[in-house]
Symmetry: C2
Amino acid sequence: MRVRDALLGKPIPDSEAESESLGPAEAVPVLGLDALASAAYGPEAALAVLVALGAAGVRFIVPITAAIVVLLLLVQTSYRHTISAYPDGGGSYTVAKENLGRGASLLAAASLSVDYVLNVAVAISAGVGALVSAMPVLHRHTLGLCLALLVLLTFANLRGLRTTGAAFMVPTYAFVACLGVAIAVGVARLVAAGGHPAPVVAPSALRPAVEAAGAWVILRAFASGCTAMTGVEAVSNAVPVFREPAQRNAERTLSIIIGILVFLLAGIAILARAYGIGATDPERPGYQSVLSQVVAAVFGRGVVYDVSIASIMTVLCLSANTSFADFPRLCRSLALDGYLPEAFAHAGRRLVYSTGILFLSATAAALLVVFRGVTERLVPLFAVGAFAAFTLSQAGMVRHWHRRRRDRGARRALWINGAGAVATAVTLVVVLASKLLEGAWITVLVIPALILVFRRTSARYEEAARACDADAALDVTDLAPPIAVVPVKRLDALTFKALRFALGISPRVHAVQVLAAGHAHEDLSTRWADAVERPCRAAGLPPPELAVLRSRYRQVVDPLLGYVHRLAAEDRSRFIAVLVPELVEARWYHYLLFSHTATLLKMMLLFRGGPQVVVVNAPWYLDAPRRRRARRGRRGVVPLAAHTAER
Amino acid sequence: MRVRDALLGKPIPDSEAESESLGPAEAVPVLGLDALASAAYGPEAALAVLVALGAAGVRFIVPITAAIVVLLLLVQTSYRHTISAYPDGGGSYTVAKENLGRGASLLAAASLSVDYVLNVAVAISAGVGALVSAMPVLHRHTLGLCLALLVLLTFANLRGLRTTGAAFMVPTYAFVACLGVAIAVGVARLVAAGGHPAPVVAPSALRPAVEAAGAWVILRAFASGCTAMTGVEAVSNAVPVFREPAQRNAERTLSIIIGILVFLLAGIAILARAYGIGATDPERPGYQSVLSQVVAAVFGRGVVYDVSIASIMTVLCLSANTSFADFPRLCRSLALDGYLPEAFAHAGRRLVYSTGILFLSATAAALLVVFRGVTERLVPLFAVGAFAAFTLSQAGMVRHWHRRRRDRGARRALWINGAGAVATAVTLVVVLASKLLEGAWITVLVIPALILVFRRTSARYEEAARACDADAALDVTDLAPPIAVVPVKRLDALTFKALRFALGISPRVHAVQVLAAGHAHEDLSTRWADAVERPCRAAGLPPPELAVLRSRYRQVVDPLLGYVHRLAAEDRSRFIAVLVPELVEARWYHYLLFSHTATLLKMMLLFRGGPQVVVVNAPWYLDAPRRRRARRGRRGVVPLAAHTAER
């Protein structure tokens, strides 16, 4: 108990549930971090494809980034309309559910789930990439560092990270400031040098071209670069957390985020081209991330470089953290709708959805291990989910406006969301086509598999609900005491306790002894009359009947189960209550001393007993009563009063 | 079930318990194998110490073997008297228990246990050593081969190896024949060559001396060589399995075994000296076991060599198997006396003591892994347990004869057993002193630790028996129906079933609903009157009372436990029966869908509920009744009839 408290913190009562209320200045870090952090891996992903073209390839980064910026602005306009239509939060799952029906909503949910998991893996691997760029000696520990960061994030989130603006503001604004200054200074030098500035630290040499420039390689670079757009949907999900006027604050926040992102992407593209910065192989020592090369080219490797790399790394790790905030919430929505196991819907001791957090962490860890913590390998899997969710959300909005097409402004909104839907759908097709063989096929297989899981879960819950369906009122006809069955081994205190309980609930008690060779127990039939029957008759009670079964296979459970089945068959209308006495030990290792027939018997009775059988478990405490009472007082009765307020 | 049957075989009924009846010809392999196999590692262990003296060291093998042979003959005479005194089997544990009391018997038991475990590890590692001598390419797989052999032996023993003479006779007599012929031919050539025979295949070169000859190194070589004596006690344990006249047959068997062993030891020593054969380093490639060198020197590496090595390997593996037969039986005796957990006393589905087998296998595996399968490293741990058991057994016999000192022949027997006890005790001291730092300290620590475990276990059983102690007859005063507590979540079929059972066993039923934030359950108090109270009143039953508890920490179990404790405190004389409904699923993975509150609640009620609380578990089957009934028919009722014969 203590260890758990130390690691995870003390339980938090419901009354302390966090209530946020953000203005744009705090909202940009909290909600925009994921989008802004994408600037750290989007351009790099595009350059990693262009590197095949050698030095000539770097030139294409500018038009590719321009295309991404156009798409980004379109998506922004489109999401502004989503914000105004869903002031309570319009995530892709919600919008698709309300407008496009169950199938589309599950597709959106599956896409988003994949996206969230990949975001964790990509952000962490990119953050570690920044770190090993600055400290090449750590290169061979890439995967270990990734997993260590993941474990850290998992624990922080299980404790319940207070995601207040402050924690996010410093690194986010440091990141924007460092990159912003680097871009401004770099562009100024570029202009001063007439287009050919000299880098302070020269970027890594580009490999010679292995491919000719063509539409296919440009498309693939664009598709990879589109990972820069992930995370922009966050604001539309989160309208309720804004200060009033919530809707306007949300729109303003979205504009600021997109504005900064566009500035960063454009600046990185221009400087990469000017300095001839390409991607280097992340799986070889000497790896330098693109941002590391850009900052080093502008400032050299001094204090500013170190601060920049530190802020990039922090922002990337925090952007992994947004998945930890959003994925469990999505799982909770799915669980409340019956598409995921109940466990995802329950807030744990620290008011966080622990099941979702652990699940996210486990799957992200698996991805990191399989792809050895290399961002470049993860990126092909990444954009598919995000663009599928974008497209479904926009398409849902088209339907939404179509229903309200007589309202003022609805027609214009319909066109804008429609354009957004088409643009993201086209991008999705491009991403799919160009990345399918590089790994997107995994995403393409996982998404329908997830949908299948959602549907099967839901079907099973419905089946279970039907099986548990009951009349409106309790049926109290034909109530009769159960037939009590008491398995006995010896005539000891456990047996007597069980017999007393049995005699208290039913006038018909059967005692059963199973004699198995190798178990040195005496046949009780000789002592039964004196020890049990006589006192019962004296008290005017019908005495329990003893049956002695002999087992040829040294098994105790099967013969008992057979006896119970025969009793059940005799009278199908009555419950059979089987009393299983249980030794309760003070120390876990004492359980090694006793045979676990009781546990096995309970399980078999529950699983194979049939609907009439009810298992009655009577504990017998082996340790000193004094110690037990003291312990119960400490952890049982007293704190309970504090936990509950009885009506 | 099928997989288990395939791996372990179908269950065996009690009636097929094996009954053996051996004459000397079959008994020599069955009971003597362990002792004879020692010839394969005893001389090697002595030579491994002498190797420090270089070529000069090999000469000492002859006097050392002579000392061991003298000791062996003394022990033989001593054991003949044990056989005549304990015709029902006089193992060290039994003899010590009957003559020296509890302390000595536990010391004997602990020593024997250690000895059995080490015998498995040493025999397997020596067998694999023989194999890699013949096939040097396998050298780097030494540990893997050891563990594979161990797994094979474990499975064979869990299935229940029929230890008939035949299975043992062929390899044992092949082993004796091969070595016997090699020794005879070798000695003949030795005589013919006037003491300096030329080897067919030259033995491995001896390393130069690193130590001067002295008493200490000779003592250490003697102590290592004493492992050749392990296993000679087997006959004295097993008198009842002999054909009549059992005692005489046993004595004759013991004489034959010792005779062969003396012949083998002497022959190996003479040939090792004549050919200048020393031990080679088993941890380096190029390792050659001493027997491999001897056979190769006499016959070269032809067919005879291959057959000899195969018989040595088989005999060593089978000698590991004698531990699998004897250790579980020793554990069973200890368990029946209350010194080990009950599980060791129960014969499993194949009539073998599975717990003992698995325990032996696990500890032997641990030893093999720690000592990397190298016989030489295991030997220092080995002889301590064996000689401690020898000494205790002889000392027990001294006491035995002392009590009967007026009988005819008792005085002479007393002297012989006394001499045996002194000789083995002196050897034990030599072994301890010379091997302590090389690893015997492990044995010296483990033996008292085991004794502690035996004593603690016994004390705990006595405590438990006292705690379960009961009067001679059932007390039926103050019998009253329990207070029934029904935790409810919703008004569904599970709840109604629980309420029906509760109303059937008690007029006082409390229903409890715990409302925790985040669990979307409606407050039942509004529907209670209509759904439950009204039908009860209409039927003239006292209606169940509903309490709705609110939980501030989203926990369900603690508030319920508090409620139960308060009810229990109100009336200390009545049982509180808590009804826990339980969904029973057809497929294990469906359990992932439901929260495990019921399981947790049951456990907490059992562990912290206190002596009044009884847990009633009512199953609710979710799958189709047809399928369930079919399954129950297949595995439940029908085979049960075959398993049991009811009185």
